[in-house]
Amino acid sequence: MTLEASVLLTTRLLSFTMLLQAIEIFILSRQSNFQHVWSYKNIQRDLERGLPLNAKLIQKLFSIPSLQKIAAIQIALSGLAAFQPLSVFFIGLFATHLLICIRFRGAFNGGSDMMTFVVLTGAIIATLGFSKIGLIYIATHTLYSYFKAGLAKVKYKEWRNGQAIPAFLMRSIFPDIQNAATKLAKHKAFNMLLGWGTLIFELSALGLLFTPSASYLYFALAVVFHLAIYFSFGLNRFFWIWITAWPATLFSLSLLNQ
């Protein structure tokens, strides 16, 4: 993959992912139940104690109407960035994403919010004229995210003996996945295979530094892996933001082949 193609794909995919995230927030923030739970009153104490800002300004920034405005601004910026990938649009998207994360006490969707910041930072660096550095920044985090996730798991015997996968699937928000997990728990050998498959897949991300020619094969496996996570847990944002990080990763790994 060429440098230009990688920058273009990364910025387009990032614009799409952030558009999708903003539309989801916009739709939710218009629902009365969501407004009742996530009212400014409910989160006021944390924001006033956690932000070194004037109370009136905090309320102005984080009320429900402001959340809708921030989401609308993110929709507009994502649209603009898709057609004209300028650093100013990505800096704006960084700001809207940060405000949304703070609005939800640090994160709306955990790890996907973190990876969104990583790709945004890389996109800002790349569009400021340091394309290679920006892409390598994204690739480093992406490869490390798989490896670190595997390293964190392999310490626990439940991952090594196959108990982990059905145990986590039982916590899915989807009742049919919970039922399938109960049935799956009886097949110990299969669970061990799935558990070790996950560990080997995640840990071998670091191996791509020594065998970059396998990067497209790993990418194909990563797509299947993220689709399986989406199907099991509903984590669509994880799917999109990790896919967004892959053009930069493929480009950076291709540098090792030269």
């Binding site: 640090g106 670190k148 669509n236």
Partner: protein
């Protein structure tokens, strides 16, 4: 209110990536509720139909994930209070942001069940394959109109 740096760091924690997902099988937290007319606790599920899940716009599933996360964060706050403030009072709990969020969330979910009662009570338990521990039981709370 006094500025607290630890809360500030928590609010901007997404800027500092941590990639240890789905590692330890910790306790899972279950919410039970009881109406004045009930003698037994009933489980309140945080589930979503798989049919409504979408790869592109999945706001309903993300909302449900966020709701489950509120329950976990409240349970963690209770454990933190137990560790850091041995003689904590009821008002310490009621002041927690996660308590406010959880009460509002339960009001929404119970109203969805079209219950005619005006009060409810809830409890949170921590469960694993071996044991079940009650970590918090609320007083009777009003079931307000939303």
């Amino acid at each position: 209110m006094h500025f607290r740096f630890s809360i500030f760091l928590s609010l901007i924690r997404s800027l500092f990536p941590r990639w240890d997902f789905f590692d330890q099988i910790a306790f899972s937290f279950v919410v039970y509720y009881k109406m004045p007319t009930d003698s037994e606790w009933k489980t309140l599920a945080f589930t979503q139909s798989h049919k409504s899940s979408r790869l592109v716009f999945n706001q309903a599933a993300n909302d449900t994930l966020m709701q489950s996360s509120v329950v976990e964060q409240f349970a963690r706050d209770i454990q933190e209070l137990e560790n850091n403030t041995p003689n904590f009072s009821k008002s310490d709990i009621e002041q927690l942001t996660t308590y406010q969020l959880l009460c509002s969330l339960l009001q929404v979910k119970l109203k969805h069940k079209n219950l005619l009662n005006t009060e409810f009570q809830f409890k949170i338990t921590a469960q694993n394959t071996i044991e079940q521990i009650d970590i918090y039981t609320s007083d009777k709370l009003p079931l307000v109109n939303i």
